[in-house]
């Protein structure tokens, strides 16, 4: 089955292109669009986007593998990114990470067998005043405590 954008994504794609004088410049927003629809930027999807953007697939994959928000491997429905840079580290982020690992029975970088959660560590999320901070998909979860972590994970379908 050949991968391609839904009509909705196609529309957003066209709108995104119109913001730039050169097509190439829209690559990052377009890749984010693609990821929003398909979850992971597989080689097949990368090749499809490359075709739409008139770019060689090697170039597109080169960009994809540079930025940390692009998923190149299968991820769960919820990607948990826990910040472990200094301010969060000073405020107990290590405990948060250990807690999530124990609760989900996975190591950092892994996905739960039911494909619900992926646990990743990330660098400074720019919210150091509410440390420890984690990001799940698009949302920030701040001022984490172990209880809050449990509540949040429980609340996610």
């Amino acid at each position: 089955m050949a991968v391609k954008f839904s009509p909705q994504t196609k529309r957003e794609f066209k709108e995104t292109l119109s913001r730039y004088p050169h097509k190439e410049a829209a690559l990052l927003p377009v890749l984010l669009l693609a990821q929003r629809e398909f979850g992971v930027l597989s080689d097949e999807l990368v090749q499809y986007v490359a075709g739409l953007m008139d770019l060689p697939p090697s170039r597109v994959k080169s960009v994809v593998t540079f930025y940390t928000l692009f998923n190149t491997r299968e991820v769960g429905r919820y990607v948990i990114r826990v910040c472990h840079t200094l301010s969060c580290a000073l405020n107990g982020t290590e405990e948060v990470i250990e807690h999530i690992k124990k609760r989900l029975h996975i190591e950092v970088g892994e996905t739960t067998p039911d494909k619900k959660f992926t646990l990743l560590e990330c660098e400074c999320l720019g919210s150091c005043n509410t440390a420890p901070v984690m990001q799940i998909n698009d949302r920030y979860y701040e001022n984490m405590t172990l209880e809050l972590v449990d509540q949040i994970l429980d609340s996610l379908e």
């Binding site: 990052l28 927003p29 984010l32 840079t85 919210s127 150091c128 005043n129 509410t130 949302r139 984490m144």
Partner: protein, 431 residues
């Protein structure tokens, strides 16, 4: 207390709504700029105000704008650097989420000053909340003739678009930002040429930080002299200071430049959690050399004072560390950050920073060797001022300063083969 400039209306409900914003002096600065000033006059006004870049480099804003050639024949671009990624910094996020129109107004005035008709806000991909708020605000601004064609019927056109990053600290370096905005890896460019002459899509480009641009409407409204009334002679205006780490009241504090650091920490930050002893403070984001507790007592928060103390104001991301902090662990943490964020283009940064992380981690684990500290310092010397972009120098900032100022702690780790400090990794609940 002190008058605020940027956070004056931060608590007004719905200030992100353009109609509320307009009721609170909103877009009056823009109207004044377009109606009463020529572009050159705006540049002179901002120069006179002494406004310096708030992203970290502290370069005089008006001077930067004056470098844009008037006759290049190529379209001029303005990029707002909203790729806030310097550890310890979170002020731009606040400005964008809570008062987006202030930023937009600043962007339009700046664009007018440099004859730019296409501007972008490069915002880090993780800030989805801020992106939503900004998209909404931009749409409102277009509807209310504050963006687009014939702005406020004064004949000036400006298109403004939001551009999302995708997770890269080095995209916050100005030429890394340009590369990323052009759809490539955020690999910084050689300078010269400088962005003011060859920037986005090879056209003259101005890149300014969110906080810098947010100051502009106020300077236009109230004048250069008024702005110089805040702060010190060479560091005028107010600054958004970011307090984080082992502090009771972390957050963003808008205070005049030059406020003593101990006042910031104790009077505004509420002092150290649990009443513990202060050990070290990073004053301006992780790239700036660390200050010991003694130095914290003496130093003021402005560009000159911190430079005289051997460090920098940077982004004013103040990270407070108390006596439970293991400086070796903190260093391993920061070197890991830089090693992870290096773009990988140039040899010293790509290889050297990751090497430093490995050594720091090894020392932290108790496997340090005699000579490790000299080795680290020599690696720093081989990186210092030799990399393609300032990231190399940023990475060595913590290494050199931590080893120099906390040497005995490092030596203890090496000699004892373990960390001698009781680290506190408990999680604090913020009220």
């Amino acid at each position: 207390m002190e008058e605020k400039i940027l956070l004056k209306y931060i608590d007004v409900p719905d200030i992100e709504n353009i109609e509320v914003y307009q009721k609170h002096d909103g877009y009056k600065g823009l109207a004044k700029a377009l109606k009463q000033h020529k572009p050159d006059q705006i540049i002179e006004l901002v120069k006179a105000s002494g406004l310096r870049g708030r992203g970290g480099a502290g370069f005089p804003a008006g001077l930067k704008w004056s470098f844009v050639p008037k006759d290049s024949g190529k379209p001029v671009f303005l990029c707002c650097n909203a790729d806030e990624g310097e550890p310890g910094t979170f002020k731009d996020r606040l400005l964008m989420e809570k008062n987006p129109h202030q930023l937009i107004e600043g962007i339009v005035i700046t664009a007018y000053a440099v004859n730019c008709h296409q501007a972008y806000i490069y915002i880090r991909g993780e800030f989805s909340q801020a992106m939503q708020v900004l998209e909404q605000a931009i749409a409102e601004a277009y509807e209310h003739n504050c963006l687009g064609k014939n702005i406020l019927k004064q004949g000036f056109n400006l298109e403004l678009s939001l551009h999302s990053g995708a997770g890269s600290y080095i995209a916050g370096e100005e030429t890394g930002l340009l590369e990323s905005l052009e759809g490539k890896r955020a690999e910084p460019r050689l300078k010269p040429p400088f962005p003011a002459s060859v920037g986005l899509f090879k056209g003259p480009t101005v890149i300014n930080n969110v906080e810098t641009l947010s100051n502009v409407p106020h300077i236009i409204m109230r004048g250069a002299e008024w702005f110089k009334g805040f702060g010190t002679e060479k560091s005028t205006g107010t600054k958004l200071f970011c307090l984080s780490g082992h502090i009771n009241k972390p957050g963003v504090y808008e205070l005049p430049m030059g406020i003593p650091l101990k006042e910031l920490i104790n009077n505004y930050g509420g002092g150290i959690i649990g009443g513990r002893k202060l050990k070290a403070v990073i004053p301006g984001g992780s790239s700036t050399p660390v200050l010991t507790a003694e130095q914290v007592e003496e130093v003021a928060m402005d560009f000159e004072s911190l430079q005289a103390a051997g460090t920098m104001l940077g982004s004013a991301g103040v990270i407070v560390m108390d006596e439970t902090t293991c400086m070796v662990d903190a260093l391993a943490n920061l070197t890991r950050f830089y090693a992870h964020e290096s773009c990988g283009q140039c040899t010293p940064c790509r290889e050297g920073v990751s090497w430093m992380e490995k050594i720091a981690r090894r020392i932290e684990e108790g496997k340090g060797l005699e000579g490790d500290l000299e080795l680290l310092l020599d690696i720093c010397d081989n990186i210092s001022f030799k990399t393609l972009c300032p990231m190399g120098d940023a990475a060595i900032g913590p290494v050199v300063s931590f080893i120099t100022k906390f040497r005995s702690e490092f030596e203890d780790h090496i000699r004892q083969g373990r960390c001698p400090i009781e680290k506190d990794k408990s999680i604090k609940v913020r009220g």
